[in-house]
């Protein structure tokens, strides 16, 4: 991996920092967020890695970090983070950038009819809000 000043000071990083309101540099990669993440198994990759990718200025990798779609914003990570860095907000920022860029992992017409019938409104509204721009 090649590092450079430009890469570490990109406007993309600035944008993530602004949108999330979090200080990316504050993370010292202790992994406590990953250790407590209830959906880490489904993600298949440790969520604290998102912050590391950002610290290294890896825009492309950060934007391909698909675990963001699996963050349920449960704030377990935030509640235990020793550095007061809210990973859920960083995940949301990455998600929003991709949603605004036209990516979306969920398409309303493809959602299972049975789920739409059974699931409570809250779940459906939340899912759409998080996954559809």
């Amino acid at each position: 991996m090649k590092l450079s000043r430009d890469k570490l000071k990109s406007s993309f990083l600035q944008k993530v920092a602004e949108m999330s309101g979090e200080d990316i540099a504050s993370c010292y990669q202790c992994g406590k967020c990953s250790a407590g993440c209830p959906l880490e198994a489904a993600m298949g990759i440790l969520p604290h890695r998102a912050l590391r990718l950002l610290q290294l200025g890896c825009e492309e990798e950060a934007l391909n970090f698909d675990a963001v779609w699996l963050c349920a914003s449960c704030h377990t990570c935030e509640s235990r983070c020793p550095r007061g860095c809210d990973l859920s907000r960083v995940m949301e920022a990455l998600r929003m950038i991709r949603l605004r860029g036209g990516q979306s992992p969920v398409h309303p017409q493809e959602v299972d009819e049975e789920i739409l019938q059974r699931a409570p409104q809250q779940a459906i509204v939340s899912c759409y809000r998080k996954n559809i721009s």
Partner: protein
């Protein structure tokens, strides 16, 4: 009219490279009252100082301005030089034209103009200086040491060996402190008791050390050399003078309670000692658990005591000691249960802190040194150690590194393997900080020889399931979450100041940081002193320390006390506040702003017409005043002033600086 001399230093090219030194010298010569002005390459050198001395004598100078570097650098140098030449050292002012001028400005003209202004302000200041003499105060050559742990004991021994009396105040019934709770010590694995107990005995029998056990320092008045300290001793309910230490009472006492010394893992009796090697080896009664004191029945100890030492009527005792210096060595605590909800501390018996683990390891501990888990007494086969439990956690715990945990956790894992050869120790860590002699090697031995498995990451959750303690953490090096079903979990809880340290800091008027650790007078150059003259620090009271550091500290503080006591009188800095009684209205609004309680009320007798009347005025205790000047600003009528920084002087400096040289009007 003062006869002022101005000496401008070129400091090689440090000043002359940017400031036209000759121009400054010439400008200074033009200031009224300046009768001598010259410059030299290195004013602080011996020839430079001689130059000054000669001018003082030849030109009968009574005020000096040395335009050179920061007063922090050479004020003392030039004051001493002036004194040698017969001039009162307080008639010297430095004009800082190096750090504040030549080093920070590029434009030579501007820098020269500024240097001229700075010199002029210093001339105006020195013009209003008065010769000052340090006050001399006698001192009591007896020291108070607060805390009987390893640091306090070391300090007490060093001072006592130097030939001065020491009062050692300890809040518990035994000296020894935290170190007495430890099993072995890193990195040599010496048995803590083996090296500590001889020292405890030495303290106890030293003729110059007076022990005040079960005691606290509740008030401190006075100042360096002359403190009056109030000591409050809790009742022990046993007359230690009579007691012969047979411990029959402890044997027969029917009431048991969890032993605080054993971190709640073992039991002790309501009467007795914390541990068999306690010094002094005298029992105390824990009133809350004594059947007689609580319910009025039992009294077995009183009946069986062969020397009738048990005294249920004993009361709290309060007395005063006069001392000349105070060493604070109150040591540390570890963060309590409330900090670790996600780790289940306080909820699951098999989640313990490091001090409890020390007790499990100790041959005098509740399991006699066999590692048994608290819940069922089984020998744990898998033990998880969690480092940084509350440390390096600015959000939920403490921002700082507790410093000693890396080392003692390696020690714990090593000792564990020695005692449970088929067991496995896991250590969650963030970074290994092993910066001491033999420390890194010790950690590596734990890994290589004793099979400790280090996992780089934090633990998020600890919970009980099927009789196991499930630890969910992460190993960021592997990029995997880790789950371990352990038998015992040990938290390396953050080191904090002793409970009550903050209150004591207020009693002593010593500043503490946001975490409650006491501030050193200077973190690098005056690490065992505080800003309150005569109060010194030893050990973990100023921050997490390991044993060798605490001992080195303690000896350092003791040396400071010995140096202090080598004087028969103390010289007090004369730059202190003073009251003009004729102006003082006696409102005493200066009193609440004084951080050192140095201002008192005094009755002034005055004549009004033919009668004598008294009125209150403020008066400054020269021993207590540290010269901050807060009182002089609280004073509306201008009666309170600060010597060396008087209202007249500061107003004159303002005027001088506002007459900027070289700025076109």
């Amino acid at each position: 009219m003062r006869r002022i001399g101005v000496f401008v230093c070129s400091c090689g090219l440090n000043i002359a490279g940017r400031v036209d030194v000759q121009k400054v010298t010439d400008a200074a010569a033009g200031i009224p009252g300046v009768v001598h002005s010259e410059n030299y390459k290195y004013m602080c050198s011996e020839p430079g100082q001689n130059l000054i001395a000669d001018a003082i004598r030849q030109k009968r100078l009574d005020g000096l301005v040395v335009a050179a570097c920061s007063p922090a650098m050479h004020e003392l140098t030039f004051r001493s030089a002036a004194k040698l030449a017969g001039l009162n050292p307080y008639m010297v002012q430095m004009a800082n034209i190096r750090e504040h001028c030549s080093w920070v400005h590029r434009d030579e003209e501007q820098a020269t103009a500024k240097a001229t202004d700075i010199v002029r302000a210093a001339v105006e200041k020195v013009r209003r200086d008065q010769p000052l003499e340090p006050t001399r105060i006698p001192l009591t050559k007896k020291a108070l040491v607060i805390g009987g742990g390893i640091a306090g004991m070391q300090s007490a021994l060093d001072i006592a060996d130097a030939g001065y009396d020491v009062v050692l105040v300890e809040k518990d019934a035994t000296i020894g402190g935290r170190m007495a709770q430890l099993s072995e010590t890193f990195p040599t694995l010496d048995c803590a008791s083996c090296i500590l107990t001889p020292k405890m005995a030495e303290v106890a029998r030293h003729p110059r050390i007076q022990l005040a056990m079960c005691s606290r320092v509740t008030q401190v008045a006075g100042y360096v050399g002359n403190f009056t300290v109030q000591i409050t001793q809790a009742p022990t309910y046993v007359d230690w003078e009579k007691c012969i230490g047979c411990m029959d009472c402890q044997e027969r006492c029917p009431s048991r309670l969890p032993s605080e010394f054993d971190r709640g893992l073992g039991k002790r009796k309501a009467i007795g000692v914390d541990f068999p090697q306690a010094v002094p080896n005298r029992p105390v009664i824990k009133a809350d658990h004594c059947l007689y004191l609580q319910k009025g029945r039992c009294g077995i100890c009183e009946k069986i005591c062969p020397v009738e030492a048990v005294d249920f009527q004993q009361q709290e005792k309060v007395w005063e000691e006069e001392v000349g210096a105070i060493i604070v060595a109150t040591g540390f605590d570890v963060l309590g249960a409330e900090a670790f909800a996600e780790y289940g501390y306080g909820q699951y018996p098999d989640v313990i802190d490091s001090l409890a683990y020390e007790r499990l390891n100790s041959s005098s501990g509740p399991t006699e040194g066999v590692i048994r888990r608290p819940s069922d007494g089984e020998i744990p086969k898998e033990v998880v150690f969690i480092q940084c439990a509350g440390s390096r956690d600015p959000d939920k715990g403490k921002a700082y590194c507790s410093k000693i945990c890396c080392m003692y956790t390696a020690k714990h894992a090593t000792l564990y393997r020695h005692k449970v050869p088929d067991g496995q120790a896991y250590i969650f860590y963030m970074d290994i900080r092993a910066g001491g002699k033999g420390y890194e090697e010790f950690v590596q031995r734990a890994v290589e020889q004793d099979g400790a498995l280090y996992l780089r990451g934090r633990v998020s959750r600890v919970y009980e399931e099927d009789g196991k303690i499930v630890v969910k953490g992460v190993d960021t090096l592997a990029g995997e979450n880790i789950e371990i079903a352990a038998d015992l979990v040990v938290l390396a809880s953050a080191v904090t100041p002793r409970t009550g340290a903050r209150e004591l800091a207020q009693v002593l008027k010593v500043p503490a940081d946001q975490d409650g650790f006491y501030n050193e007078a200077h973190p690098k150059l005056r690490p065992v002193e505080t800003v309150t003259a005569g109060v010194y620090l030893a050990g973990a009271v100023a921050g997490p320390r390991d044993i060798p550091e605490a001992v080195a500290n303690a000896s350092g503080a003791a040396a400071k006390v010995a140096v202090l006591f080598s004087n028969d009188e103390l010289e007090n800095e004369p730059l202190i506040a003073a009251v003009d009684e004729s102006k003082c209205s006696g409102c005493l609004w200066c009193v609440p702003v004084c951080p050192f309680d140095a201002i008192e009320e005094k009755e002034l007798i005055e004549r009004v017409g033919s009668k004598e009347v008294t009125r209150p005025v403020a008066t400054v205790n020269a021993g207590l005043c540290q010269g901050c000047g807060a009182c002089s600003v609280a004073c509306r009528d201008g009666a309170m002033n600060l010597k060396g920084f008087t209202n007249e002087q500061i107003l004159a400096e303002v005027e001088a600086l506002c007459l900027m040289t070289g700025s076109p009007e």
